[in-house]
């Protein structure tokens, strides 16, 4: 966790050229004439990192696929004919058909929307919870902090996957398309905000002691104004990194739960569920399992690599 504190601490000295702006490095503008902020410095570094570029591109493709699946395939993922069950690749379906005779590629393309949506919504929910609770705990301290810290301890005591299994068993299935989807989002968000909240808390504590916060207080700014206008912008960088990685973890969690049979059900197309079904017949035809597996892995991997690259760019100590 000290990594993130360092990020937060360096963020606050953004105006001074940190150790990051190594003079004499090729292709960098002269540091003495133009002072670059840490964020600018990080962006400068990121732009030339292949991992950052590749992962951003993959995420972009996946997001477009989620929003406009018909750009990638014209086949209907839900029109299945048992007559073409397990048929190999052909001109109509580049990856062939699965056991039920559905177009493997069409299902995979349409599955992107489920994964991206679950990941995005759970991350937003977890992010809001983490920022609000971490901010309150870090800013006010004292008893409130102690109580919130114990609550975080308790939730961290239950591994995410196990908590979600029991919660999904308990909550039933949900109705229609949005019911099950939002249920899983809610459960992942409720159990997944704790790590990010701890990070917000520690960066709020270090931001709270800065001179500009004291100055704002002296000028008569209210607590809420100090929190929102002064501390929040300076405490956001580390938590965004953690949330990017969490997004990948939430997508994994949804796929894993659907794989185990407690997650999403038909008619929602989930990569996890398709993989689980295809795995039973992997000896006959491995393609229906490998295609969604590849898409799932690429998506999660991209979010994790993106988060990792951004964290590295923001943490001069790691260079």
């Amino acid at each position: 966790m000290s990594d993130f504190e360092t990020v937060a601490a360096t963020e606050n000295h953004a105006a001074t050229p940190g150790p990051a702006g190594e003079p004499g490095a090729p292709g960098q503008p002269d540091n003495t004439s133009k002072v670059r902020s840490l964020a600018g410095d990080a962006w400068h570094d990121l732009r030339r990192k292949p991992i950052f570029i590749i992962s951003s591109l993959i995420i972009l493709v996946m997001v477009v696929m989620a929003a406009f699946p018909t750009l990638f395939t014209s086949a209907d993922p839900r029109s299945c004919e048992l007559g073409r069950s397990m048929k190999g690749p052909s001109g109509d379906a580049i990856f062939g058909y699965n056991l039920q005779g559905c177009d493997v590629f069409a299902r995979t393309v349409h599955g992107a929307s489920t994964s991206i949506q679950v990941g995005l919504y759970s991350t937003i929910l977890a992010g809001v919870l983490a920022v609000v609770i971490g901010m309150l705990a870090g800013f006010y301290g004292g008893i409130l902090d102690a109580i919130l810290a114990r609550i975080i301890d308790i939730i961290l005591g239950i591994p995410l996957l196990l908590a979600a299994i029991v919660a999904l068993k308990g909550a039933g299935k949900g109705e229609g398309y949005w019911g099950p989807l939002l249920l899983i989002v809610f459960i992942l968000g409720i159990f997944g905000w704790t790590t990010a909240a701890r990070i917000v808390r520690s960066s709020v504590i270090s931001a709270k002691q800065q001179d500009y916060v004291h100055a704002a207080k002296m000028l008569g700014a209210s607590n809420s104004r100090i929190m929102v206008r002064h501390i929040l912008p300076n405490a956001m960088a580390p938590v965004i990194v953690v949330l990017t990685i969490a997004l990948g973890a939430f997508i994994t969690a949804e796929a894993t739960l659907s794989f185990l049979g407690v997650g999403l059900q038909d008619p929602i197309i989930s990569w996890g569920k398709d993989i689980s079904e295809a795995a039973k017949r992997v000896r006959d035809n491995a393609v229906p399992m490998l295609v969604p597996s590849t898409f799932l892995s690429l998506t999660v991997l991209s979010f994790i690599m993106l988060g990792d690259a951004v964290r590295e760019a923001f943490d001069p100590r790691l260079r």
Binding site: V166, I275, S293
Partner: protein, 310 residues
């Protein structure tokens, strides 16, 4: 030190009640009519219903039932499974050794490969080995473990035939657990590499290493005696916490490879909707996880005196 342990124990007690309350509450929400579930399709006569209601405290309020559940959990009386009606504790006692055995393999992989590669990468930071391992670990962290499991099962089991595709104890013996163990440990392995690497690289730049160098100590001695000892403190704590996680992760690996351990039993209970079984297994896994965390924190305080004075 004693004060630290006492404070940590109190936190643990609180966390125990908090987590079990959440788990029990979630199951409480789930249970429709457990007596009907027990009887299946048959109608239940009133006398039997009254007897069972009293026996399982079904007419009591939530907190009272929670209390009976915690008491059962602490005394090892977990009730009976819905399918077959065997005592859950008995089923679990039968399954534990297999899961522990599997987790041991995972742990060996994590310690030898993970810490070993991490130390080498940390010493040769920025080199080819370092960059390759960093990228590899990212890939392993990025691929969901069930995808990794299925793919390796397909590649090394079905296609290449090196490892058994599904595990049968009498046929495969210990050899059959190597691949499932590796997959179970893969995430922890990757994390261990990255953690060890950062820790070693950081300590190599510390003042005490420069002092040791200035004294003229041999490089090997500095690395092994000074750097490793200090670098491995965070790694040890990570490994401790991972023991708890490995038990939970077993549900995927055991399901894929048909290893008949606790995770397999949990997967089966989910499939046949055996609520009491699911909750019992999850509760026990949560307790193990909490205990592992407690032990690790105390161990951490022993290894690193600074932590006691926070």
């Amino acid at each position: 030190m004693l004060r630290y342990i006492i404070r940590r124990l109190l936190q643990m007690v609180l966390a125990f009640f908090g987590t079990t309350l959440i788990v029990y509450y979630m199951m409480f929400q789930a249970s429709g009519d457990p007596i009907q579930a027990l009887a299946g399709e048959k109608p239940v006569n009133e006398a039997v219903r009254a007897k069972l209601t009293a026996e399982y405290h079904l007419d009591e309020p939530f907190l009272v039932r929670y209390w009976y559940y915690v008491k059962g959990l602490l005394t090892g009386d977990l009730g009976n499974s819905l399918s077959g009606g065997r005592p859950i504790a008995e089923v679990l006692a039968e399954r534990w050794p297999t899961t522990a055995n599997l987790a041991l393999y995972a742990f060996i992989f994590v310690v030898i490969l993970g810490v070993g590669a991490g130390v080498i990468a940390g010493i040769r930071r920025g080199g080819i080995f370092d960059n390759t391992t960093l990228l590899l670990t990212l890939v392993v962290i990025g691929i969901p473990s069930f995808v990794l499991g299925l793919t390796l099962q397909l590649g090394l089991g079905v296609k290449a035939g090196i490892f058994p595709v599904t595990y049968m104890e009498e046929r495969d013996g210990q050899f059959g657990l190597i691949l499932p163990g590796f997959i179970l440990g893969s995430l922890a392995l990757a994390t261990a590499v990255r953690l060890t690497r950062t820790s070693v690289a950081e300590n190599l730049r510390a003042d005490y290493v420069r002092t040791a160098k200035a004294k003229g100590l041999a490089k090997r001695r500095i690395t092994i005696v000074h750097v490793l000892r200090n670098s491995l403190i965070p790694v040890v704590t990570f490994l401790g916490i991972e023991i708890g996680n490995l038990m939970g992760g077993a549900i995927i690996t055991e399901g894929i490879f048909n290893v008949q351990g606790v995770g397999f039993e949990l997967k089966k209970a989910i499939d046949i909707e055996d609520g009491p079984m699911v909750v019992s297994i999850v509760s026990i896994l949560v307790v193990i996880y909490l205990l592992a965390n407690l032990l690790v924190d105390i161990l951490y305080a022993v290894l690193d005196p600074r932590i006691r004075y926070e």
